[in-house]
């Protein structure tokens, strides 16, 4: 299978959306950029969305690997849909799509002036769109799944430093924003491990309140069944209940931060339902 490049990513997924003015073609502001790459030095004029590390490039000259077929001229202002490439003394990014800036104006109109927040909101919208259920509720209890108990058949799962140490949270549902509207309780399996593989996943405690973006077992390969572990995914807390996960840090928004994200979640749910 041929190697896939980041250039195959859809521009919708580009993490760095900015307006820049081309300063020099066939040049690089970073010594480590390979000479045979189609690059340009670009002044970053305005950033629409970006991760924090790239949001710091506003007003600076960076290196852009141009999208295939793009032929901007020196002095052109271009809207770049880009992803990160090299971070050294300065930054090089890889453009996956280039547009005339006029198309950016409507995009700017509905965004905040904080490019990192804009990207975070976009990522949250994606989590909402991809969730099987979006609920508001409160954790009523935490349980040890049968597969994790000492009485489980040995070896239920070989021991590794990456062991997730699963637990189950029962959530009393207050509002269903997406999914089966009559749902009163759901069971969410979550890792308590602090290992590199799991530390980002939200950890739940009795009394936690907020909004969950939930993936069902079917859609969550992280905890899917396998030939080796055929019984690993039977819900213990409520036998027979559908088991969900919320493994991305974005998948749980605590109640005390809902002011900040409520409008984003509502808009994403509405867009999905329309």
């Amino acid at each position: 299978m041929p190697a896939k490049t980041k250039a195959n990513d859809a521009s919708d997924d580009a993490k760095f959306l900015f307006k820049g003015t081309v300063q020099k073609l066939g040049a690089s502001a970073l010594a480590q950029v390979p000479k045979d790459e189609p690059t340009a030095i670009v002044h970053v004029d305005e950033i629409l969305h970006a991760p924090p590390a790239l949001a710091r490039t506003l007003g600076k000259q960076i290196t852009v690997k141009l999208a295939k077929g793009a032929k901007p001229k020196v002095g052109d202002q271009v809207l770049f849909h880009a992803n990160s490439w090299l971070f050294g003394d300065s930054v090089a990014v890889e453009s996956v799509k280039q547009e005339v800036p006029a198309q950016a104006k409507s995009m700017l109109g509905e965004k905040t002036t904080d490019p990192a927040r804009n990207l975070a909101d976009k990522e949250l919208q994606k989590r909402v769109a991809n969730a099987d259920m979006v609920i508001e509720g409160e954790v009523s209890s935490i349980h040890l799944p049968q597969s994790e108990s000492l009485s489980a058949p040995r070896p239920a799962r070989p021991l590794s430093e990456h062991d997730p140490k699963w637990r189950e949270a029962v959530i009393n549902v207050g509002v269903v924003h997406k999914g089966e509207a009559t749902t009163k309780q759901v069971v969410v399996r979550f890792p308590t491990s602090t290992d590199i593989q799991w530390f980002r996943a939200p950890k739940f405690h009795t009394g936690d309140r907020g909004v969950w973006m939930l993936q069902s077992q079917k859609e969550s390969p992280a905890v899917g069944t396998s030939a080796k572990h055929p019984t690993a995914m039977t819900a213990t807390a409520i036998p027979g209940a559908t088991l969900y996960t919320a493994l991305s840090p974005l998948d749980f928004q605590p109640a005390d931060k809902l002011d900040r994200v409520a409008s984003v979640i509502r808009a994403a749910v509405a867009a999905k339902n329309s």
């Binding site: 980041k6 970073l30 790239l54 990160s84 930054v91 290992d195 899917g224 572990h229």
Partner: protein, 499 residues
């Protein structure tokens, strides 16, 4: 933005007691926890130590732990490294560290398959260059996981500065802690082909014999080899480390679990060395070294105690191993491992001069309260030994030592870093890494470790270079604006020692 200061060895650093002393130890008489010292006779070694975080990431506070290193034998100016560093761009590819000037400066290049929703990083990663191919290989635990288990990928790239994603050579689930080593056969049937060996703990192996090596004689297709031959405690431990000699001898050491109590985390393990005399192609592979019980694999030590749930400061422990073969003589091989004695984590070092058949009955070195042993032998037959020791009480320090010796008796001890162990607070496990890494090329040693990044020159008695913005005078990291203070975190440090 403040001007970055070049590395400078202070007069103070030259007087630091552990900076350039030579230690002598004999296996029979030496006390186990201290080294007898004498004045060093040889010239001081040349030491380069670099904080690897690039200037454009001066504001980062990641826990960049568990580093490994690869030096291109064809061009030693080309060096790659790995750590638990997320893609600063938040994309679906995790980064590697790249240097094209011998380790003096570094950039991050995100080319490793990952997942933005899972933090744009890997759950394990190691790197190695082929011997003469310029190809960089990586063994990773890829995120997100699937089917409730870990996912091994073995990867390669012909150009480690390209933006092209690394090619997936192998994709298998249920595998832990891949550790890649590579070389290129210079003669025989495999001449010109990369020889790649990836040690791992494969939970899919039969009978709980999980210690595994994936071997490739062309850098493309891999064969899975179970190197455990005895009854286990249901599985082996995570670390499986290969070591390659250019004559086709390939050794590996692993932590062979013999007993294990999942409630307490207590267990016992044999430290087992296997050998293959033909690039991993013997029949069966890795069966060329037998023990007295006629099973493959020499038990260097039996019933070594460990606790899988224990910690050394904020650093998790549970059994570490390392191995190195002398490039001048494949008969000579060194092994280091960690065990727990009366609640104290201890690392040991032993040598074999007859291809692993017999081993020095006593340790060449014993270091208490230490972890992350890493070994390499240079082309002078000098053994290098990297480790991290927890010292003090209360405000403890992690002291990163690099020791080397031409005879296994007289050791030169360099303190590379003496940094706070209590700060920053751990974000995830492992704090510094389940391993650090050492290798040699020619007479030089190259290594990498992770440590607290406070820009305090007193913490680095052999000097240090920072790429990220810093103020040595006020012991303060600074953001990309050169003004905003940045909190200390864990960074990877590259070093090169020319004895």
């Amino acid at each position: 933005m403040p001007k970055r200061k070049p590395a400078k060895r202070s007069a103070k650093s030259k007087n630091v007691s552990l900076g350039t002393k030579r230690a002598r130890s004999t296996s029979a008489q030496r006390p186990p926890t201290r080294l007898r010292t004498r004045r060093q006779q040889a010239a001081a070694p040349n030491v380069l130590l670099v904080n690897m975080v690039p200037n454009s990431l001066s504001g980062e506070t990641n826990q960049d732990s568990e580093p490994t290193l690869a030096v291109n034998p064809v061009n030693p100016l080309q060096i790659a490294a790995s750590a638990f560093t997320p893609d600063p761009g938040g994309g679906d590819l995790a980064p590697i560290y790249v240097s094209t000037d011998g380790g003096n400066t570094w950039v991050l290049n995100s080319i490793v398959p990952s997942d933005s929703a899972q933090g744009s990083m890997t759950a394990d990663i190691t790197v190695a260059f082929g011997g003469s191919s310029n190809v960089l290989y990586a063994g990773i635990i890829r995120l997100p996981i699937v089917n409730n288990t870990t996912r091994l990928n073995i990867l390669s790239t012909q150009n480690f500065l390209s933006s092209t994603k690394m090619k997936v050579l192998l994709d298998r689930t249920g595998v832990d802690q891949p550790f890649v080593e590579a070389s290129t056969a210079m003669s025989g049937a495999e001449s010109g082909n990369d020889q790649v060996f990836v040690g791992s703990n494969d939970f899919g192996a039969s009978n709980g014999q999980t210690a595994t090596i994936d071997t490739s004689n062309n850098g493309t297709k891999f064969s899975q080899v179970t190197i455990e031959s005895r009854t286990t405690a249901g599985q082996d431990g995570p670390p499986v480390r290969p070591a390659i000699h250019s004559d086709g001898t390939v050794y590996a050491v692993y932590h062979a679990w013999r007993t294990f109590d999942s409630t307490s985390g207590n267990g016992t393990a044999d430290i087992v060395v296997v050998r293959d005399d033909n690039w991993g192609s013997s029949n069966p592979p890795f069966s060329d070294l037998k023990d007295t019980d006629n099973f493959s694999g020499k038990r260097v030590v039996q019933n070594s105690a460990f606790n899988f749930n224990d910690f050394l400061g904020q650093e998790r422990t549970g059994g570490a191993v390392s191995i190195a073969v002398d490039p001048t003589n494949s008969n000579v091989v060194y092994v280091s491992w960690a065990d727990e004695q009366n609640g104290v984590y201890i690392i040991h070092l032993r040598q074999s001069s007859d291809r692993g058949v017999t081993w020095s009955p006593n340790d060449l070195i014993v270091i208490t309260s230490a972890t992350n042993p890493a070994l390499a032998v240079n082309n002078q037959g000098t053994i290098g030994f990297l480790y991290q020791q927890l010292v003090g009480s209360g405000a403890q320090q992690f002291v990163t030592h690099f020791q080397y010796s031409s005879d296994g008796q007289n050791w030169t001890d360099l303190v590379l870093a003496n940094t706070p162990a209590n700060t920053p607070t751990k974000v995830f496990d492992p704090y510094l890494g389940d391993y650090c890494h050492l290798l040699s090329l020619g007479s030089d040693f190259y290594g990498i470790f992770s440590a607290n990044n406070e820009p305090d020159q007193a913490n680095f008695p052999n000097g240090v270079i920072y790429q990220r913005n810093h103020d040595f005078n006020n012991v303060q990291l600074l953001d990309t604006d050169g003004v905003t203070p940045v909190d200390p975190s864990i960074d990877p440090f590259f070093f090169k020692v020319s004895p």
